[in-house]
C-alpha cells in the first residue's frame, strides 16, 4: 500500500550562494504531522537538514514561525496542513537571511521607535479596572510580524511604522498611567505617520491573534482629528 503523505512546496533561497529563488517539493508522511510546523520540522529532521526557519513554542504564543502559507499569513504552528499542495513562503517586505528565515531588524526598529514603554516618573501607578478592561483586545499581539509583511505601506514607505507598532502605541496612548501622551502623538502625526495607512485591512486579515491593527490605527487617527 502506498504511504499517505502531505505535499509541500517550500521556498528556498540562500542569498550568498543562489542566483535564483526556487520552490522545493517535499512529501511528509501523514502520521508524522498535523501542522505546517510539524511538517517543516520533519523536513529538517529527515529530508533536508539545511532548511532554515525559526520556531520555538509550537503553540501559537511566541511568534517565531510567522510565514506565508497557502496564500495567507499565519503561524506555521497553528496552521493545519491541507490535503492539497501546501505552499510556504517567508514573510514579505523583509530581507531573506536564508529560506524562510528573514531579517526582522526593520520590524523591531519600528516597534522600538514608538517608545513602547510606560513613562511615569513618580510613585506608584495603579491602573483602574475600567482602563485595564479597555486593553483586553490589544494585549494579544505577539509581535510576529505577519501584519508588517502584509501591509502595502510598509513595503512602499520605509519610514512607515507599520501596524504592530501602532497597536503597541495605541496601548500606551490608552494607558491612564502614562505621562507622555502628547510626545507619542507627535511621533505619528508626520507625513510618514499614521495617516499613511489607507485602511486596506490587510493587517487585520494577516493577524493570527485577531488583534485588529486597523481598528487601533483608526482610533489613533481619531485621537488626532
Amino acid at each position: 500500500m502506498k504511504e499517505k503523505t502531505y505535499k509541500l512546496s517550500v521556498f528556498r533561497f540562500d542569498p550568498l550562494v543562489d542566483t535564483k529563488q526556487r520552490f522545493v517539493n517535499y512529501k511528509v508522511p501523514r502520521n508524522e504531522a498535523t501542522t505546517i510546523l510539524d511538517a517543516l520540522l520533519y523536513i529538517r529532521d529527515h529530508l533536508d537538514g539545511t532548511l532554515a526557519f525559526r520556531a520555538s513554542c509550537g503553540q501559537g504564543r511566541c511568534g517565531s514561525c510567522a510565514m506565508h502559507i497557502n496564500g495567507k499569513y499565519g503561524l506555521a504552528c497553528e496552521t493545519t496542513l491541507s490535503l492539497g499542495n501546501n505552499i510556504i513562503r517567508p514573510l514579505a517586505q523583509l530581507a531573506i537571511i536564508k529560506d524562510l528565515m528573514v531579517d526582522m531588524e526593520r520590524f523591531w526598529e519600528k516597534y522600538e521607535s514608538i517608545r513602547p514603554y510606560l513613562v511615569r516618573h513618580s510613585g506608584e501607578a495603579r491602573q483602574s479596572y475600567a482602563n485595564r478592561k479597555e486593553m483586553d483586545s490589544m494585549i494579544d499581539c505577539i509581535l510576529c510580524g505577519a501584519c508588517f509583511s502584509a501591509c502595502m505601506m510598509t513595503g512602499m514607505n520605509p519610514d512607515f511604522h507599520g501596524p504592530a507598532a501602532y497597536v503597541v502605541l495605541n496601548r500606551f496612548l490608552k494607558d491612564e498611567r502614562d505621562t507622555i501622551h502628547d510626545q507619542r502623538m507627535e511621533l505619528v502625526t508626520g507625513e510618514n505617520g499614521v495617516f499613511r495607512c489607507h485602511s486596506m485591512y490587510s493587517c487585520n486579515e494577516a493577524c493570527p491573534k485577531n488583534v485588529k491593527p486597523s481598528e487601533n490605527i483608526l482610533e489613533i487617527k481619531k485621537n488626532i482629528g
Partner: protein
C-alpha cells in the same frame, strides 16, 4: 573579542529582570539569547505568580500572610525546600508585583481596581496574581519594554545579542571569564569576555517526548555549565503537569482548575476524590498527586482512551471562560477543534518543569566564582521536591534581580580575574574544531533518530512512575546513544551559517548528557518524595536530602546532602561552602 562586565545568557523572564538590575548596578551588560527575547518560553506561562498582597478572604474572614506562603510551599515540596531561598522568594514577592505595576504591567484587576488574585494548587489562600491566562506574555512584554527604555536612555550600558547560540562557558582556575557564542544567521563564532556571567536558560523538557516545553529547551542550557565544572542539584525532580491537551503537548494551565474546572474519568466521575491522598490540601491537590492519580485512573482502565482523562470547564459558564481563560479556549479550538464552553477537554499528564538545575545558594552563586544562575535552569532549592504552581514565575523575578545584585557586588569587590589573550584564542580554536569534527561524517545516523530514541526512553522509564530496572535500562540506552552520537551521527549541511540542523545536533549532545544525569540521579534516590516516585521504594526515607551531581574527568559523582534548617544558622553556614 567583545568585552562586557556582565553577560546574561538567556532572554526570558529571569534574563530580562537580571539585565534591568545589571544596568541599575552601573554595569556594562550584554544579553545573549538563542531566540529574540520575546520568543522565549516565559511568554507561554499562563497561570500567574504568587505574592502575598495582604488581601482578605471574604468567605473565611482571614488574611493571607508571608508565613502562609512559606508554609504552603514547604508542605507542597515535602519539606525539601531550602528555607533561606524560599524565605527570600516569599518576602520579596509583593515588591516584585508593585515593581511590575510601576513599569506598566497589565495585570487583571478586580472591580475595586485592586490587583486580582486566583487560587492555584496546594495553596491555602488565593494569592496568584495574573493577567487572564496570558500572564507570562504580559510580564515578558513589560520587562522587555523596560529594557528598551534603558537602552534608549543609556545605550552604552545594555546590548542585546539576539539569535546568538552559546557554545561554551569559559572558566579559568574556577573563575568565570566569559563565553563563546555562535551568531546563528552568519555562523560566526566569537569570544565574549566578562567579569561575571548570569545563566538564565530556562527548562530542559525536550529531553522528554511528552512535554509542553518549546523546541529551545533541549538541556543544552544545563550541559554547558556542567562541562565548565558547575554542579547540578536535584536533577531527579522532574515535574509532570496534570493537564496537557491530549495529542498536542500543549499545556492547559492549572488556573483552569483554579477557576473551577474538574477532572472526570470515562464514566463521568470526579475520580480524584476517591484517592485518599487527594485531600491533603484545602483547595486543589498538588500537581504530583494529581498527575499520579490520573495515571492510576488510566491504568485501572477508566481513562477516556489509553492515555487521557477529561478536564471539564463547562460548569464555569461562557462568560467566565471568556474573561478568565480565553487562551485556554483559543488553544482548544486551534489544536483540538473543540470549544470548552460546550465540550470536555481530553488531557494527559506531561513533562512541564525541570525542578533541578545548576546548584546555587540563595544569592544565586554557584561554585564557580563569578558565575551566577537563576530561574528554571538554576536550583537554589526553592521548590523542594514538588513545585507549587505560581512560584516559578515569581522565582525568575526575585532571583533574576538577586543574581545581578550578587554579580554587581562580586565585580565591585574586584574578585574577577581575566586570563590573557592566549587563553581566549586557544578556547575559540578548540570550539571551532569541535564543530569541524561534528561536521566530518558524510553518512550514518541523523540526529533526529537519536533524539527520538532518547525521548522514547525518557517517556517510558523516567516518567511519573519509575523503578530501578527501568532506570538501569534507560541508562544503558543513553550510553549506547552517546556512543552513536560520537561515532556514527552525521549532519546534512556543512556550513555554520543559518544551519539550524547543526545547532540541533550540538544541543543533542547536551540533551543526552543531561538525560543520563536525570536517570542516574533518579536511580540513586531510593525513596519516593514529591515528583519522584519509585515503585520499588514507595515510601519517603527520613529527613529530606538534596542530591548534587558533579562530573570530573568524565566520571559522574552523586552525593546526597542534608538540607539546612532555618533555625540553626550554624548548620546553614557549614552546609553551604559559599556563605
Amino acid at each position: 573579542m567583545k568585552k562586557y562586565d556582565l553577560i546574561i545568557v538567556g532572554g526570558g523572564m529571569t534574563g530580562l529582570r537580571a539585565a534591568i538590575e545589571g544596568v541599575k548596578q552601573g554595569l556594562h551588560v550584554a544579553v545573549i539569547s538563542k531566540v529574540h527575547p520575546l520568543r522565549s518560553h516565559s511568554v507561554a506561562a499562563s497561570g500567574g505568580l504568587n505574592a502575598v498582597l495582604g488581601k482578605k478572604n471574604s468567605e473565611e474572614d482571614d488574611t493571607d500572610t508571608l508565613e502562609k506562603h512559606f508554609q504552603d510551599t514547604m508542605e507542597c515540596g515535602y519539606n525539601a525546600s531550602d528555607p533561606e531561598a524560599l524565605q527570600l522568594l516569599v518576602d520579596r514577592a509583593p515588591g516584585k508585583i508593585k515593581e511590575l505595576e510601576r513599569w506598566g504591567c497589565l495585570f487583571s484587576r478586580e472591580q475595586d481596581d485592586s490587583i486580582a488574585v486566583r487560587a492555584m494548587s496546594a495553596s491555602s489562600f488565593p494569592r496568584t496574581v495574573y493577567s487572564s491566562d496570558k500572564t507570562g506574555h504580559v510580564i515578558m512584554n513589560t520587562l522587555y519594554e523596560q529594557c528598551i527604555r534603558l537602552r534608549q536612555n543609556k545605550p552604552d550600558l545594555l546590548r542585546f545579542y539576539d539569535e546568538w547560540f552559546v557554545h561554551k562557558l569559559l572558566v579559568y582556575n574556577n573563575v568565570v571569564s566569559g563565553i563563546i557564542a555562535l551568531e546563528i544567521a552568519t555562523g560566526r563564532m566569537e569570544i565574549f569576555s566578562a567579569k561575571a556571567v548570569i545563566w538564565a536558560t530556562g527548562g530542559s523538557g525536550k529531553i522528554f517526548g511528552n512535554t509542553s516545553n518549546p523546541l529551545t529547551n533541549s538541556g543544552w542550557g544545563l550541559a554547558v555549565p556542567l562541562y565548565a565544572g558547575a554542579a547540578l542539584r536535584d536533577m531527579e525532580y522532574i515535574q509532570f503537569h496534570p493537564t496537557q491537551l491530549s495529542g498536542s503537548h500543549i499545556l492547559i494551565t492549572e488556573a483552569a482548575r483554579g477557576e473551577g474546572a474538574i477532572l472526570l474519568n470515562r464514566k463521568g466521575d470526579r475520580f480524584l476524590e476517591s484517592y485518599s491522598d487527594s485531600k491533603e490540601y484545602k483547595g486543589l491537590s498538588a500537581r504530583d498527586v494529581v498527575s499520579r492519580n490520573i495515571q492510576r485512573e488510566i491504568l485501572a482502565g477508566r481513562g477516556v482512551d489509553a492515555s487521557s482523562v477529561y478536564l471539564d470547564l463547562r460548569g464555569l459558564g461562557s462568560k467566565h471562560i471568556k474573561t478568565k481563560l480565553p487562551g485556554v479556549r483559543e488553544l482548544c479550538k486551534t489544536y483540538a477543534n473543540l470549544d470548552p464552553i460546550r465540550q470536555k477537554i481530553p488531557v494527559n499528564p506531561g513533562q512541564q518543569y525541570t525542578i533541578g538545575g545548576i546548584s546555587t545558594n540563595e544569592k544565586a552563586q554557584t561554585d564557580i566564582d563569578g558565575f551566577f544562575a537563576a530561574g528554571e535552569c538554576a536550583c537554589a532549592g526553592v521548590h523542594g521536591s514538588n513545585r507549587m504552581g505560581g512560584n516559578s514565575l515569581m522565582e525568575t523575578l526575585v532571583f533574576g534581580e538577586i543574581a545581578a545584585q550578587s554579580a554587581g557586588a562580586y565585580i565591585r569587590q574586584k574578585h574577577y580575574r581575566l586570563p590573557n589573550k592566549v587563553f581566549f584564542e586557544n578556547a575559540l580554536a578548540e570550539e571551532k574544531n569541535k564543530i569541524k569534527v561534528l561536521l566530518e561524517n558524510e553518512e550514518g545516523i541523523k540526529p533526529a533518530e537519536i533524539r527520538k530514541r532518547m525521548n522514547d526512553a525518557m517517556d517510558k522509564f523516567v516518567g511519573i512512575y519509575r523503578d530501578g530496572m527501568g532506570l538501569v535500562e534507560a541508562g544503558q540506552i543513553m550510553k549506547e546513544l552517546k556512543n552513536i552520537y560520537h561515532t556514527k551521527m552525521y549532519i546534512d549541511g556543512k556550513e555554520t551559517r543559518a544551519n539550524f540542523g547543526l545547532i540541533d545536533a550540538i544541543e543533542l549532545k547536551g540533551s543526552l548528557d543531561i538525560a543520563d544525569i536525570i536517570i542516574q540521579s533518579a536511580l540513586r534516590r531510593k525513596e519516593s518524595i514529591g515528583v519522584h516516585f519509585r515503585n520499588d521504594f514507595p515510601s519517603t526515607k527520613g529527613r529530606p536530602r538534596y542530591s548534587l551531581v558533579k562530573v570530573r574527568k568524565n566520571k559522574m559523582k552523586i552525593r546526597h546532602m542534608a538540607i539546612r534548617t532555618k533555625s540553626n544558622p550554624l548548620i546553614a553556614m557549614f552546609s553551604d561552602p559559599r556563605s
